[in-house]
Amino acid sequence: MERDEDRPGAGARNGGGSQGGGEASYVYAVVEVRDVPIPEMLPCAGVIGAPVYAVASQGLAAIVSPVAPEVFSAEALEAKLHELTWVAANAMAHQEVLAWLLTRRYTIAPVRFGTLCSDPDHVRTVLTRHAQHFVQTLGRVEGATEWGLKLSCDGHAVAEWAKSRNVQAGRMTGGVVGMSEGAAYFAHKQLEQRVRKETAHLLGAHARDLHTRLSSVARAAVTHPVPAGGVRRDGPTVLLHAAYLVADASVEAFHAAVCTKPGPGAPPGITCETTGPWPPYNFVNTVLEELG
């Protein structure tokens, strides 16, 4: 069974926290263990080189590592956040554990990096008490992976393109000659504003169309807020930042939809980055603290 939890007195410990001395459980994920039995100890190294175990209960398992709670205390983390190499190395270790589970086709509810359960027994208690909730959550993400998408554009290139297509722009160059300076100034400003609005609408439509297409192929989709302020002239602008839960059988169709060549009416300078497959970070909406 779980080696460390079996040590004498382990059950009596009241959780590490800032008191130290106790051992806490670093949690990577909760998985479903219906068809594929999960080994008690996983053949991968976890965060800070700790061993990785599965704490099983009623068809579920929490994937954990024993760690000294001081290493991951709020204060310690606050300090370590500035050491990006430490963070990166351990974030990768965390991700490797999830990757191991993902490739073995376990249904995973991934847990945020740096999450501890202060009392090793608390892990099993939570699993047992909320088994039904976990099963439901895992059912939603079964047989699917998450894919991230970021759609950006070069504001300058798009503005130039929109201007070149704008009918008034052509008329402007000819018409300005006869105008007074003042009138020309305002005419120019009017045109600038029209072009900017047109550009924003075109880009918005393009982003919306892509998101709609991808959402129809995916099982679920979420979008992340993008900075407000319109299209920037001096750098890339993010148009769409989203995550899609894609069933294994639909992954090819999803990629085909992403790579669809933009139509002849689409603006230039738009880039699309996809990353994945990820464990379904964005599709497990549970706050266990609320569950108690």
Partner: protein
């Protein structure tokens, strides 16, 4: 509009135009799509700040070589 570009007392107008036409909140376009507030599952007492979560997400995605089965070949 007279033949001159701007009247002298239009310095204020120019200052105003510089602000009202070039700055301020922009609400054009339909760039934002609906946003969902998502919580991640987390247990116990320790919760990490989002910058580390970003570090996790920015890690290289799984490459084809670490996968087997139908997911291999998509990276």
């Amino acid at each position: 509009m007279t033949g001159r570009a701007f009247e002298d007392d239009d310095v204020t107008l120019l200052e105003l135009l510089d602000r009202a036409l070039e700055k301020g909140v922009v609400l054009w376009g339909d760039v934002t799509v609906s946003v969902a507030d998502v919580d991640l599952i987390y247990v116990g007492l320790k919760v990490l700040v989002s910058s580390v979560e970003t570090a996790t997400r920015m890690r290289q995605p799984l490459t084809a070589s670490t996968l087997s089965g139908p997911l291999a070949g998509h990276s």
